[in-house]
Symmetry: C2
Subunit: 414 residues, 2 copies
Amino acid sequence: VNAEIVAVGSELLTPFHQDTNSLFLSERLASIGISVIYKTIAGDDRRLLTAAVRTALARADILILTGGLGPTQDDMTRECVAEALGRQVQSDPELITELYKRFAARRMKVPENNARQAEVIEGAEVLRNPRGSAPGQFLEVEVGGQPRYILLLPGPPWEMEPLFDAEGLPRLIAHAPRRHIATAMVKLAMVPESAADERAAKIYKRFPGVQTTILASAGEVRFYLRAQAPTQAEAEDAVDQLSALLEEEFAGEVFATGDETLEQIVGYYLQMREATVAVAESCTGGLLAERLTRVAGSSRYFVGGAVAYSNEMKTKFCEVPPMLIAEKGAVSREVAQAMAEGIREHCWATYGIGITGIAGPSGGTEEKPVGLVFIALADGTKTGIVERRFPGDRARIRHFATQQALEMLRRRLV
Amino acid sequence: VNAEIVAVGSELLTPFHQDTNSLFLSERLASIGISVIYKTIAGDDRRLLTAAVRTALARADILILTGGLGPTQDDMTRECVAEALGRQVQSDPELITELYKRFAARRMKVPENNARQAEVIEGAEVLRNPRGSAPGQFLEVEVGGQPRYILLLPGPPWEMEPLFDAEGLPRLIAHAPRRHIATAMVKLAMVPESAADERAAKIYKRFPGVQTTILASAGEVRFYLRAQAPTQAEAEDAVDQLSALLEEEFAGEVFATGDETLEQIVGYYLQMREATVAVAESCTGGLLAERLTRVAGSSRYFVGGAVAYSNEMKTKFCEVPPMLIAEKGAVSREVAQAMAEGIREHCWATYGIGITGIAGPSGGTEEKPVGLVFIALADGTKTGIVERRFPGDRARIRHFATQQALEMLRRRLV
């Protein structure tokens, strides 16, 4: 059983907007064994949208449309699906009554256009939308002798997502052949993608039934595992076994096997150890503090941070001796160490982190090129310092540096 | 003249990846008067991709395909376009020679698969790709008596974008009817979208020939203007007139009429005035410093920042009297002011900014609810303080607060 997702809206054909609903939908569909074979984006044009619906019905078992269910003249998903099927739309008396009640409660007249939202395609089931005034619709039809399932959903994600889960998914499950699918995620920090892939390949080739996807971003690699089997237990077993072997192979490098971010994991460990952290940043300009404090409740373990961009501030905020900067340069092993130790003492924290480097695009020299970053982690007894040369542009170098810092702290805490 | 963009790649049908090339392409196409009527995402499946090409050729004048030009068996865009057209692919001897030379220079054998990248659809023009080994291809064909233009481009954006600009765009311009199009952008900070829209509506209804799009994010509204006219001068005139009236209406609120971000604009002004800034952040946790230092060269005007999450750090980094915090609370007008003034003195900066608030999700009270933020700007003579109640989640509240701070500084500098 396969599906096509059609995102409706002229704004989705401009350079400014993008369909993101299909990411949510394809995740949910994958979880019940339905694969997405096409995604189409169509504008608010009656002829073109009707044609897109016809094309989709000819090539996919399930058609999910998002958007175009609002009250304006531009919202024509209902009419176009009806037209493609050779059916009519009809005003649903119950929906009309509800609409009048809702507006009456707010002492308002129903705007003429709004009645459009009560129009239902002949033969469609109405799916109540608790978060908005546009209900969804579900249809079972036959096209060329083949059964087809059509789902119309509103465009705004906060309406579409709960409506799909509550009303759409159960209807699709009822019509899709029962599949048993299990998934798992294994996340690593600061392992290069190619190295991670090579080390994982020899493990996952022993599990031909498990589909593995490797996803990489600056300083992070995720393995996404997915298995389909005759029983749920078998599917989960296959995924669990592979996941356990990957965790064994990457032992200390795995930071999470779920949705948690690296900064969340670091936060958990700090709380568990009743420890605190303070940071002193030069080239990352506050990004490390910002990532740590993205996590709700981080005030329990994040004490404070200094963005010491100038040499004077390195001295003022984290007591780096001016002589040391003069001697070794602001971007040096020694200054990173002094920043980490200085901010730790200055903030009375368990751990202190210091970052100094050259984020570019300018300011690099042959000896100290763009991308060179020193990261130090102090705990009062010893200070670990790493020197790294990160690739990419300013934003990527800054992200890499904070990722490295978080990973150093995580490993110290484990 | 209209176009369909087909993004090729099974990964683009998963929950983890999204086609972004079409945003770039639709912007470029709009600039030459070509509208995108459909976007399709298809996987690496010979039958399904060939069908998608046939469908696109039946409904659009121009077909642009991105991706699927690599050397692996999964890369089948060339074969599928050829099959849809009933043509063959042929090995291009020149491309083969180049391939051998390139590998010989690196003392490597050409892997068997790589020869696939030298395959050219019968009748296609080869478009040299300086950034990768997969060349683009361009074809003019007839489908059902209609002229069709087909462009095959590599998937990675850093290869696709320059190749499209250098080779694709000129070919499309040559075949598209000459249109005269002008565009402009007007950007405002901290004006609510609905208010901006209402004030702008009465102006832009006087320019029915100019298409206006309003784009909004947390604390930012952008008007995108686009006019098409018989001559370039007329198009530019219409856009310029409307843009000038919008700038007049929103006078002090317009921060840019181009691509510049608010933090870049603030940076320009600071440099122009030979001024510097230092920031003390509580609830924004370093985000303001991070935004200011995203800009290359910001070390010329950004002195330093303190992330003073705990009360002790507010005293230590920005000399906020502990008595004041005890009396007024950490989230208060007075503490924001003391932070701004304290960090300014501490860092010997021209301007000091202090932010304190409740980013949530917890920590709010009836008196001081989640979203309440105080932002202060000190310049040594007077300190301006605003109290705001921002909507949304933690990330949105933090972004709003930094946007407000940057906008306050911009207005002080103008």
